[in-house]
Amino acid sequence: MNRALQTSATLLCDLLIIGAGGAGMRCAAEVLGKRPNSRVIALTKVPHPQKSHTSTAQGGLASVDPADPADKIIYHMFDTWKGSDCMADQNVVKKICEAAWEQVIWLENRGMHFSRNQDGKLSKRTFGGHTLNFGERSAFRAVFEADRTGKGIMDTAWGESMKQGVSFLNQSIAAELLFSDDQCVGAMVFLQKEGKFARILSRATVLATGGSGQVFKVTTNCRQNTGDGLAIALQAGLPILDPEAVQFHPTGIVGPGILASETLRSVGGILRNKDLEPFMEHYAPKMKDLAPRDLVSRAIETEIRQGRGVLNPDHHIEHVWIDLRHLSQKVHEEQIPEVSGFFKQYVNLDARTELCPVRPSNHYHMGGIPTNLSGQVLNSSQNPVPGLYAVGECAAASFHGFNRLGTNSILELITMGKFVGESVLEFLKEAPQKPAEASAVKTFSRFSEYLEGRGTDSIGQIRDALRTLMTANVGVFRTESGISEAIGALKELNERAQKVSLSNKSLAMNQELMQRWEMDALLAVSMVIARAALARKESRGAHFREDFPERRDEFNHHTLASMTVFGDVALARRTVDMSVFNAGGAHHENFNLIERKY
């Protein structure tokens, strides 16, 4: 018997923001700053916007200071293009790099507590892949707030939007986008605390749901990063751009996945396998442990796959060691105190005397909901969907291509957040005053299915199997047979998931029900990642195919993956924008198809 689920309320607004992280809040602040009486509702899955994933970003935010005589915007553009392995869209790269500094000032003027130099100006530091003069030497391009830059951005963007009157619906999920004709007119929302469904009708809707790291077993991402935005876009028949482009950081701390910074290797840390052999010399005889991120990640995974990993008994995760024991007391105290602190805190090891367990950790999803330069979501024919926008990690205007440079994500949040805000403002001028009516099609049937499952399987076990499978077969290394096997296994997991019976059938703050819903998102996102990875028979950026280890020109295109029925993935292509190269002009040759060598 179907439990009668019903809509408890219909809310009307001008702008619905799905996801109150850094990207969503920057956008909200822009809209309200220019149009103060707008009704803006922002949803977040977490108990409060401050608990969003953006708060955890550490390193910094890249932007060329116009007062810096050495650095130029064109260098930042080049680094981003090269880092992307020639898959970023150049018009997007140009727009974001040019807008960067103004947005840094926006944040600073609104109270972000950036670290300062002796002159009282913003301090800057270097980050991997950021260079001067087209690769000549490292650039000091990242502004930062100690090791909590993301928190500074989150607090500032949240503070500004609160000040201007955003209404927050915390601990609420958008379960389905609503359409009237082909226009997006809001979303169906499940309010977790109350256990109620609300229909939010809005004139414009922005997806800003963040990453999907929970698809993998070891990840630096928040618990809630289950790829919901991608899943609801897929469900609405929209495509995902480059889902196969997933970034791994080589040294995540087992088991929480927390980043152990690259600094460890730059000060002389050595990676060792089960037999304590320093294995990097077999993979990169010259650079050894200092080889680039993707190469080191692959070396670690190879050791593990060939049986030279160590099984962590507590987390059941295989790993290798990073050996810091030989480093001097001075290095430990002065150069790596914080990361050493993480090992103490999360694995209770003294990095000065004990080996520390690490494994590549999923870090970032370059792929996402395709948008144009102003953040309008594009449908499968690559036309804008009226009323619908996407921004942040869930979106892909394609600034990062197939490999994101450190500090470029936060930059994207604040610049694209602003542009999306501007674009929404234009749209609001034209859209009718009152949002159109529409009702949910899938939400109730899905939720009643969840509540009526009769199987004996557990969500936890299925989720664990999915995450292990994706890590082993569609992670750092990919092969045709491995991915195909994963696709088959995902179908089985999907069937198992459909039968799960919930031990608690309540609607109010039912974590189990939420996890069941998230399970569908994880399955959908995994499936499109796997299918796109299978089709891309080459290696590029973070996507590495052992059976096709070279980059191949015939794949110089974006992937578009659509899936409305689980497992039925349709793949299409989109050309990469090379407008900077095509425009000619000084330095344009650097924007041709170049090799990614460091």
């Binding site: 840094v104 618990r223 993480f342 919930l502 109010a508």
Partner: protein
């Protein structure tokens, strides 16, 4: 290196549908470096999927996972089994939700209600002073920043508010005051009158007993009581 602890968790549960609360005991075999959030997840996966708790970042950066463990407010994502056993000298743990806000279910409290106090403190710049140069940053020296930067590290986990010995009803509480004090000390903020009115209101700093309980429990090691004491000393008040 493989060591298993036999842990007993006595978790306070609450079911909003029937408005019933009870204590449920779970026994878990736990490796030394599992965190308390890992134990909760293990209970969900292996014994009782209905147990509800909160977490987000799971590495001490967001403040979502605070609960009371043997009476002490702590981040459950930071506490390792091995450390907990050593610290409390037992393998038996009482796990309770924070008391600063109504319980929604089990260990989840309605943190939005607690945030109302933070919101009243206006955690943003109300009236920014124009920067010296247009389209440039303010000049703030590292020495100036150093005076209040520790207070900007607060993640609103509410551990301090939980531990505070002053009456929660009459008092804004340590982290909400901290949010206001940061902006009083921030040279970019022009609006000081409203802020001082709040700090010295009958719900403000004078309710503080300077017990330092807040500083002792802060997972970010912020000396909350010190900042409140600065305000109490009348340091910011133009007419004390």
């Amino acid at each position: 290196m493989e060591k298993i602890y036999k842990i007993t968790l006595r978790i306070h549960r609450y079911d909003p549908d029937i408005e019933r609360s009870w204590i449920q005991e779970y026994r878990v075999d736990a490796g030394r470096i599992l965190r308390f959030v890992d134990l909760f997840r293990k209970i969900n996966d292996e014994q009782d999927p209905s147990l509800t708790w909160n977490s987000s970042c799971e590495h001490g950066q967001c403040g979502s996972c605070a609960v009371r463990i043997n009476g002490k407010p702590m981040l459950s994502c930071e506490l390792l089994v091995e450390n907990a056993v050593a610290y409390f000298n037992t393998t038996l743990f009482d796990i309770e939700p924070l008391t600063i806000a109504p319980v929604v279910r089990d260990l989840v409290v309605d943190i939005e209600k607690a945030y109302e106090k933070v919101n009243r403190a206006k955690p943003y710049i109300i009236a920014p002073k124009p920067a010296a140069e247009k389209a440039a940053e303010y000049c703030i020296t590292p020495q100036e920043l150093e005076k209040y930067v520790a207070a900007t590290r607060c993640i609103n986990c509410f551990c301090c508010a939980e531990a505070c010995i002053s009456s929660p009803k009459a008092f804004l509480g340590p982290n909400a005051l901290l949010a206001s004090i940061v902006r009083v000390m921030d040279p970019r903020e022009q609006e000081k009158t409203d802020r001082l009115a709040l700090l010295y209101s009958d719900q403000g700093v004078r309710r503080c007993h300077t017990s330092k309980a807040c500083s002792f429990v802060c997972p970010k090691e912020i000396d909350v009581a010190y900042f409140i004491a600065l305000a109490k000393s009348g340091r910011f008040d133009p007419n004390p």
